[in-house]
Amino acid sequence: MRIPISWISELTGVTASGREIAEHLIAAGLEVESVQTIGEGLSGDLVVGRVEEIEELTEFKKPIRYCLVDVGADHGGIRGIICGAQNFVVGDLVVVAVPGTILPGGFEISARETYGKVSNGMICSEREMGLGEDHEGILVLPPETASAGANAKPIIGLADEILDIAVTPDRGYALSARGIAREVCIAYKVPFSDPIDRVVHVPAPSGSTKPAECASDDLEACDLFTLSTVVNFNPYAPTPQWMKNRLRDCGMRSVSLAVDITNYVMLESGQPLHAFDLDKLQGTVRAGHPIEGELFETLDHVERTLSASDLVILDDRGTIGLAGVMGGLDAEISDSSTNIALEAAHFDSMAIARSSRKYKLSSEASRRFERGVDRTIAPYAALRAIELMLELGGGEYVGMNAVEAPMQVTVITISNQLPAQIAGMEIPAQQVVDLLTAVGCQVTQESGQLHVAVPSWRPDITDQADLVEEVIRLIGYSNLPSTLPVAPAGRGVTHSQKLRRRVGTALAHAGLSEVLSYPFVGPQDLTALRIPAQDPRRDMPTLANPLSDEQPWLRSSILFTLIPTARRNLGRGHTSIPIFEIGSVFQGGMDTVAIPHMNVEHPPTPEQWSALENALPNQPLHVAAVLIGEAQPAGWWGGARPFDWSDAVDSARILAESCGVTLAVSRGADPIFHPGRCAQLSVTDADGASHVVGAAGELHPAVCESFGLPPRSCAMEINLNAVIKCAPLVMPAPVFSTQPVAKEDLAVVVDQNMDAALVEQALREGAGDLLESVRLFDVYSGPQVGEGKKSLAFALRFRSPDHTLSAEETARVREAALQRATHVCGAVLR
């Protein structure tokens, strides 16, 4: 809501700067976003001029006028002025900047020769004077606004300050001059005289014809409906400049006198009004519901298909307005309407919010109705509008019809101590009463209990807590003390939370950088990633309103979105890209039917809650990494070492080790990865059961190509929740012997496709307890070991818990290890 300070002053008698009033309003909870001065930067004279003569100059590219304008004797009498606008005629009153005047933006007016004439001033548009954005033509003042030579500044509202207030959904009353003025009066502790209590000067209904009939078919959704009739209104009467100024300052355009008056009264009182052309109506005007599927064209020229649950305004022919949101094209008043039916009604805020949301239509009316409009003021606002119509456009008030449901006044009982208890500070009981009264409540006291009748313009006040807020905000949040409550002794971060932090740190220390990507994916992403049709990762939740129709799904794998992030880094000139991401993935589509419908009067039952939890997809935390380019760059130490599949596997190992979990690596198959260079990653839980938790390796060449990644780019993804589930809470201490170690190297020849991990496993099994460690230190394939074979060289360390191993013992264990490897893997001693 934008509002000029002059209007606030007029209603409150408070004369303070815009900035000072803004400070008070902010402290009271009205968020003033800006204070702006109309025509800021303008200096010098603006005078009213009367156009005496217009000479059309036609020899130029565009039409140019040379005008003789009377600016009054004090400002040089009649001046010749060149003007490019066409929207005025001889006799019109215009605003003239005389030479010496500086317009906003530092534009100084001087007498100058142009288009073969001397132009002795400038006829101004609204935008040139900093009044608004209107630049369609020059500003033409209504006839008889002032005489030639008068100071134009007060006439056009120059130097007024405008407050722009962001009104929160609970403060509908602040969408009106009336509501803001009340807050200003409370802040300045001056009495407030409510503008709706002012006597409205409207003659008694003439009764010359019957006023238009009205009804409400749905007294819950429309509990007050009034329809007033004015005939013989002059549609050509101009809107006075003062009203134009206020509409402009409040951010609305001047349309025609009748429309301007409905808007002005809405800004003043907060009650939206709608004017119909009486001659276009047929029968009773009703608030009610349309026929399912009825087509209806709103004022914005959009045809809409209505449902029977919509709240609309109808006449005998059908829908003529979307109630409280927007009127229809058919019954709208036009520039020539002389007979007017004026609707002033009260609608259920939820009904209006529903319409506004459903049809994506937000109007000045809907913004007010959905925040709550004063339940009582519709008849007043109608009469106020009629007063202005008759005064400014003439005509005859025929009468008003109204229907109304009984009205409930909200009464809340509250302890006079409650505000103090909630605030945590002393608040005298009398102050509570005084502040609630200032807000407009009627308070009756009964031994410490207050019975508070809520005013009709505050439908947001429904609970004790709302009254508490009113009291504390008016005392001022700045007066609250600052105390620190003592929580019970806490347990710190959980084991799982600690490990999640540690995983990120471990990967960072391993040289990877954490990035965040949006979890949105689409079909073309999955095609590029080679995810087959039956892959469970294709089962993802779908967004009803995605940012991009091409990415309607929520990722089931972090690599889906991390690989494109890697590509972006390539595009920015990075050649080595070790990145990782920790984030949620979404497994499985939604069976939303299973979500129970629950109210908020009671907590969910255990059955409801578990149904709700089960309906949501599994959303485990995953970690993924992409490794592109060089693991170690070239330097004085030698050549570069590129990232390869083993770095991807190792990043997973580092991750698992940081959780105290040992990762088992076996041959994997995942269409994202190279079929011969993909590891399946598993961990073992406390019960000894093995769980597959992820995959790592070299990306499939086709994936690299699709995303423009260099060949042999590598990646890893792991289910962090599954790893953490296997993480020991307490690390068992090692038991080790101090007896001497016996070292033995063992090279065996196996088939080329035999996994080293299996051979190592066999060696361990064969060697038994005396084996302290085994480590693969060389892999060789070549003519010496034969076609289709490879040699694996292991370093074995043996140690006995209680004596020095003899050469015979060592040889025996080594032989046992070899025999096992031979038996299981076909290993032959090299």
Binding site: M350, R371, S513, P519, V600, P603, P604, L616, G635
Partner: protein, 369 residues
């Protein structure tokens, strides 16, 4: 050369006089002092202490001396040999030290060459900032609460006193899952975690909930559809708005320095009543820039305060929806944007830098924000 003098042989080949022996010693000592390295010293040893050295030759002559002279000369030559031996040994040690020093000198490298064989990684500053803010509350005895990003609408809105069609729902542009009326959304705020915390635990409840949230904003310099918040919730007997203010002041001081406080401004959130906006005192100028055009402050735009988040006393309707008796317990809640905090705290000027995943952004922060 003559054989050992077994028999008396008066022929004296070498002068065994005291002068002569002293000269031999002096020559040996001079030679070893001139030796600059161990190889040269080896030559000296051979020349002056070897089998053919003058002293060795002299030694052989002793047998030829008359018995009366043998003892004296023998003693003289023996002393000379011992003197030379000691000197050689000392000199050898000296030269060994020199040699060792030389070896180290020759191993000198250019210690200034780059040593970064691997990459320096980093954690995303949004992650580490969430941890840092959480830790302030952990230290006060709070726990970290969690909840899913894809959330039931009832938890994200209804239970938080945002009924269907309430204008507050349009304040937050929501991603709906499957359809607009499916009952499932991407959480628009971390507040649903409050609901979960209150359903899972009985008061007293002191939790903090950092997390990722979603709204249908297009990405630009100040908006992102995927962002992060941190939420705090306390429910206990007798909690007050003053307690809320004190808790926020404590957070401000821990994150931004001693003496930094917060300011509350009345506002509206459906899940709190009374509600307030939280402003942070500008930790750069501490208000010195207000009305002082000579010392502008880019962090607060000369306002002295920085908009930080929202807060309030938990709406009794919310307590009722989770089965907590509002006549027994009161609560406060607050929340702030992590992106926004990172922007003004660390001077990030463009929101896009946080979400586009450029390596340079993360690396610059290392493992702490």
């Amino acid at each position: 050369m003559s054989a050992p003098n077994k028999e008396y042989d008066p022929k004296q080949v070498t002068d065994l006089s005291e002068e002569s022996v002293n000269r031999m010693v002096a020559e040996a000592l001079a030679a070893m002092n001139n030796a600059g390295n161990l190889a040269e010293l080896k030559e000296v040893r051979l020349a002056h202490f070897g089998d053919r050295s003058p002293l060795a030759l002299a030694n052989r002559e002793i047998g030829a001396l008359p018995p009366a002279a043998k003892a004296e000369v023998g003693k003289r030559v023996g002393q000379a040999k011992a003197q030379i031996k000691d000197a050689l040994s000392n000199r050898e040690e000296e030269l060994e030290v020199l040699r060792d020093q030389q070896v180290l000198l020759e191993e000198t490298v250019d210690i200034t060459v780059p040593t970064d064989r691997g990459w320096v990684g980093g954690r995303h500053p949004l992650t580490t900032l969430m941890e840092a803010m959480s830790d302030v509350f952990i230290a006060m005895g709070y726990s970290i609460a969690e909840g899913p990003e894809l959330e039931a609408e009832w938890v994200n809105f209804d239970a938080l006193n945002v009924p269907a069609d309430h204008p507050a729902r349009t304040m937050q542009d929501t991603f709906y899952v499957t359809s607009q009326d499916s009952g499932a959304v991407l959480r628009t705020q971390t507040s649903p975690i409050q609901i979960r915390a209150m359903l899972e635990h009985k008061p007293p409840i002191y939790v903090v909930a950092p997390g990722r949230v979603y709204r249908t904003d297009e990405l630009d310099a100040t908006h992102t559809p995927v962002f992060h918040q941190i939420e705090g919730l306390a429910v206990d007997r007798g909690l007050t708005m003053a307690d809320l203010k004190g808790t926020l002041d404590h957070l401000a001081e821990q994150m931004f320095g001693a003496g930094i406080v917060t300011r509350l401004r009345p506002s509206y959130f459906p899940f709190t009543e009374p509600s307030a906006e939280v402003d942070l005192q500008c930790f750069i100028c501490r208000g010195a820039s207000v009305g002082n055009s000579g010392t502008p402050c880019r962090t607060c735009g000369n306002e002295g305060w920085i908009e930080w988040g929202g807060c309030g006393m938990v709406n009794p309707r919310v307590l009722r929806a989770v089965g907590i008796d509002p006549h027994v317990y009161t609560g406060f809640a607050f929340g702030m944007g992590i992106e926004r905090t990172l922007m003004f705290r660390n001077g990030v000027t463009d929101m896009r830098d946080m979400v586009e995943g450029d390596l340079r952004f993360t690396r610059a922060f290392g493992v702490e924000a």
